[in-house]
Symmetry: C2
Subunit: 409 residues, 2 copies
C-alpha cells in the first residue's frame, strides 16, 4: 500500500514575516543530534491569541500559556519535543518557570510574554537545564527564514514537517500568514500531540486575532480526528507582528474588509489540520466526511464525528470495504435527529440509501473499486434541517495497532 503521506513530504517555501525570527536546534532532550527545541522571537511585544486542549489534565505548559493569554502580548515562543512535561506535578510547574525566566532574561521581556509548549512522553520530569543551556546559541542563530528547521524541531512521531502559507488583501494591503504544525493524530500522549503556531505581519489587535483564531480552529483543528483521543497539550497560538499597517483600526470580526484575511486564515489552518490527518498514525487513506440536512451545525458535527470515530467504519475503510451498514450504524448511535425515510448516504459519487433502505438499483462493484483509492469521501444528508459540517479523518489499520501496542522504547 502506498504511504499516504509521501506526497506531502516536501516542506513548502514559507516567506519571511517581518518583525520576527525563528529557528530550531538540538537540546539533546531526546535523541542526540535531532532537533528538539524551537524558538521564535519578536522584535517587540506583539498581539497574541490562543486556543488550548479542553483536557482537565492539561500540561503545565498549557496551564501557563492560558494564564498569560489575558495579557494579550508576546515577545517569545519556546517549544520542545521529546518530553511533554505533563503530569509531572510541582516539578513540572518549576520547569516551566525556569524556561520562561531564562527566555525572558535573554530577550529582555516580562516573563508573562513568553509562551511555552512541550510535547513528547508524559509523566517524565523535563530537565530545564538542557533547554536553558541550548537557548543562547539558538537565539544568536535565529533568522527570518528558518521555518523548516522550526517545523522539524517540534516533530515527535510525525513523519514529515508541516507548514503552510497564505497571503491576503486587507483594505488594499497585502499581508502574509505562515503556519507550522505537528501531530500524528489529535492525540497520542505517548509521543505526540497537536501543536500549531500561526504568524502574520498584519497589524491586528489580540482580541480580534483571538476571535478569528477561535472561529478558524473550529473549522480546522477541531474538525479532525485520528483516533478520538485528546492530548493533554493540544495548543494553537497566533501572533501578529503588525509590520503591515492596515490603514484603519479593525475592531469587529464582521468588518467586511477582513473577509479575505479570514478566508486565508481558515484555508491555512484547514491545510495544516489535513496535513496532520494525512500523517495520522498508521493512516493509509484520507477520509472527508460531510454531513448536511441536520437540525443544527452542532448536530451535523455530532453525526460527522460519530462516523469519523467509529472503529468499525475506520476498519471497513482500511479494508476498502463499501460497508455502508456501518455508516448507518454510526449515524444512528450519534443520537441526533434524522429523517429515516430521507436519509441519504453517498460514498464518492455513488448514492446508496433511500426510503429507509438500500436503493433498488444499488450496484456494489463500482463502489468497491472507488474504496480502493487513497482519498475517500462520505456524504450524508439526514433530511431534517440545514445544519452542515465537514470533518476529516483517516482509516484504522494494523500499523496503528503496531505503533501504539509496542512497548515504549
Amino acid at each position: 500500500m502506498a504511504k499516504l503521506q509521501s506526497a506531502f513530504r516536501r516542506f513548502p517555501s514559507l516567506p519571511p514575516i517581518a518583525g520576527m525570527r525563528l529557528g530550531g536546534a538540538s537540546a539533546r532532550i531526546r535523541s542526540r543530534g535531532r532537533k528538539d527545541l524551537m524558538l521564535a522571537v519578536f522584535d517587540r511585544s506583539v498581539p497574541v491569541a490562543g486556543v488550548f486542549t479542553s483536557s482537565t489534565t492539561a500540561s503545565a505548559a498549557v496551564r501557563w500559556d492560558r494564564s498569560i493569554l489575558a495579557g494579550g502580548r508576546s515577545r517569545a515562543l519556546v517549544v520542545n519535543s521529546g518530553n511533554a512535561n505533563a503530569w509531572t506535578g510541582d516539578a513540572g510547574v518549576q520547569t516551566v518557570q525556569q524556561i520562561v525566566r531564562a527566555t525572558a532574561d535573554m530577550v529582555r521581556c516580562p516573563i508573562r510574554q513568553v509562551f511555552v509548549s512541550s510535547t513528547g512522553v508524559i509523566g517524565e520530569i523535563l530537565d530545564s537545564s538542557k533547554i536553558r543551556n541550548a537557548l543562547p546559541k539558538l537565539y544568536r542563530k535565529l533568522t527570518p527564514k528558518d521555518w523548516a528547521a522550526a517545523a522539524r524541531a517540534i516533530m515527535t512521531t510525525d513523519t514529515f514537517p508541516k507548514g503552510a502559507t497564505r497571503s491576503a488583501n486587507i483594505n488594499g494591503r497585502i499581508v502574509t500568514i505562515n503556519g507550522i504544525a505537528k501531530g500524528s493524530g489529535m492525540i497520542a500522549p505517548n509521543m505526540c500531540t497537536m501543536l500549531s503556531y500561526i504568524f502574520t505581519d498584519a497589524r491586528l489587535p489580540s482580541k480580534l486575532l483571538q476571535g478569528m483564531l477561535t472561529a478558524a480552529n473550529k473549522k480546522s483543528f477541531n474538525a479532525i480526528t485520528v483516533d478520538s483521543d485528546t492530548s493533554t497539550s493540544d495548543t494553537v497560538i497566533a501572533f501578529a507582528t503588525g509590520t503591515v499597517p492596515l490603514g484603519f483600526d479593525p475592531i469587529s470580526l464582521r468588518d467586511p474588509r477582513l473577509i479575505g484575511f479570514r478566508a486565508a486564515l481558515d484555508s491555512l489552518m484547514v491545510d495544516l489540520a489535513q496535513q496532520i490527518v494525512r500523517d495520522g498514525e498508521g493512516a493509509s487513506k484520507f477520509v472527508t466526511i460531510s454531513v448536511r440536512g441536520a437540525a443544527s451545525s452542532e448536530a451535523a458535527r455530532g453525526i460527522a464525528f460519530s462516523i469519523a470515530n467509529s472503529p468499525l467504519v475506520k476498519t471497513a475503510i482500511a479494508g476498502s470495504d463499501p460497508n455502508w451498514g456501518r455508516i448507518v450504524m454510526a449515524i444512528g448511535k450519534a443520537g441526533q435527529q434524522i429523517n429515516h425515510d430521507e436519509l441519504a448516504v453517498r460514498i464518492g459519487r455513488f448514492p446508496i440509501t433511500e426510503g429507509g433502505g438500500v436503493r433498488a438499483e444499488y450496484d456494489e462493484s463500482p463502489v468497491a473499486e472507488y474504496m480502493k483509492g487513497a482519498e475517500i469521501d462520505i456524504d450524508v444528508d439526514v433530511g431534517v434541517g440545514r445544519g452542515r459540517a465537514t470533518v476529516w479523518t483517516c482509516d484504522l489499520t494494523h500499523r496503528y495497532i503496531a505503533i501504539n501496542a509496542d512497548y515504549r522504547s
Copy 2:
C-alpha cells in the same frame, strides 16, 4: 497468546423454567446446517419487559418490539441470526409482520404478543419464508431443556454460546432466572449485535420486571464496551412465566423481599455481559475499570467509559505496556471534574500517581509483569466526591483489525 475466551467455551447447565419451552434450528438463512433460528414459547401469555438500543437507526424488529412492549404480555419469542433486517425499508417492516403473523397463528395468540429479533448483516432483505417454513417443525420439537441450542442459534461472530443461571429466594420461595446472550462486541453491525433474553419462573408483574431489568441493565450490558460502537439491534427482553407464586403481590421496586431476586438478576446479567466482553472481537485481555471519588455516578461512568473506549489505552493494554500516561489522558478528555492533586491511578495493586505526578517510589517493572496477564484491573480515584462506576472492556488488537477490515464474505 492464549485465547482469552477458551475457559468459557463450555455452556453452563441451565435448569428448566416451568411454563416455557425453547429450542433452535437451521432455517438456512446463512450457512447450511448451522442453527440460525431460535423459538421460545410460553404456555400462556406472560409478563414481559425490555430495553432496546438507543440508536436512531434501530432495526424493524426493534421498532416492532418497542411498539408492543406497552401491552406487557408475551406468548412467543422468535430470533434469527444471519440477517439483521436493518435498514431494509418497507420490505423489512413487511418481513417482521410476516414472521409475527406466522408465529401468532401457530401458537394461537394475538400478534402483539410475539417478540422478534434479527441479527446479522445490515441492509439485506430477509426472506421471511425461510423462517416461516422452519417454524412449525421447530415448534413441535421445543423442550424445556434446549438452552444450549437456543444460545447457539442466536450466535453470529460469537466464538462460544453464552448462558447463565441463578436462583433466588423471594419471600421464602425459591425461584430461578436463566439467561442467554450473544454478541462479540456491543456492536458490529456487519455480523453481530448484542442480544440477551432472560427468563424467570417468579410471578412478577411486567411493570416491576421492567423496573428491575432497566436497573440491572445499567450495571451490566450498559457497562461494557468493546469498541464504542452501538448496534441498530441491541435488545434485552425478560419474561416471567409466573409458575412460582410469591405469596404476596409485589408492587414496589423497593420491597425488601425483592432484594435477593434483584441481586441475582444483577449478577446474572453482569455474568452474561462479561461473557460478551470476553468474546470481544480480537480480545486477548479482559479489563475491569473502576472509578470512584467522582462528582456523581454519571460522572464516574463518563470517566470509566472514556478510559475503556480510548484506542490508545486499549492498544497499550494489548501491548502489555503500563503506559499510565494514556490513562491520565483519557481521564482528562472525559471533561468531568477531577482533583488534580488527589487523582490516584492504580494498575492492579500498584499505585502510580499522587500529588499531580507519578509517585517518587514508582517502579515500573512489577507493573509491566502484571500487564502481561489476561485480566487487567484499572482503578481510578478522582478525589472529588462519592460517585462510583465500574465498566468492563477488552484490549484492541491486530485481530480486531483483521476481523473488521476484511471484506464481507
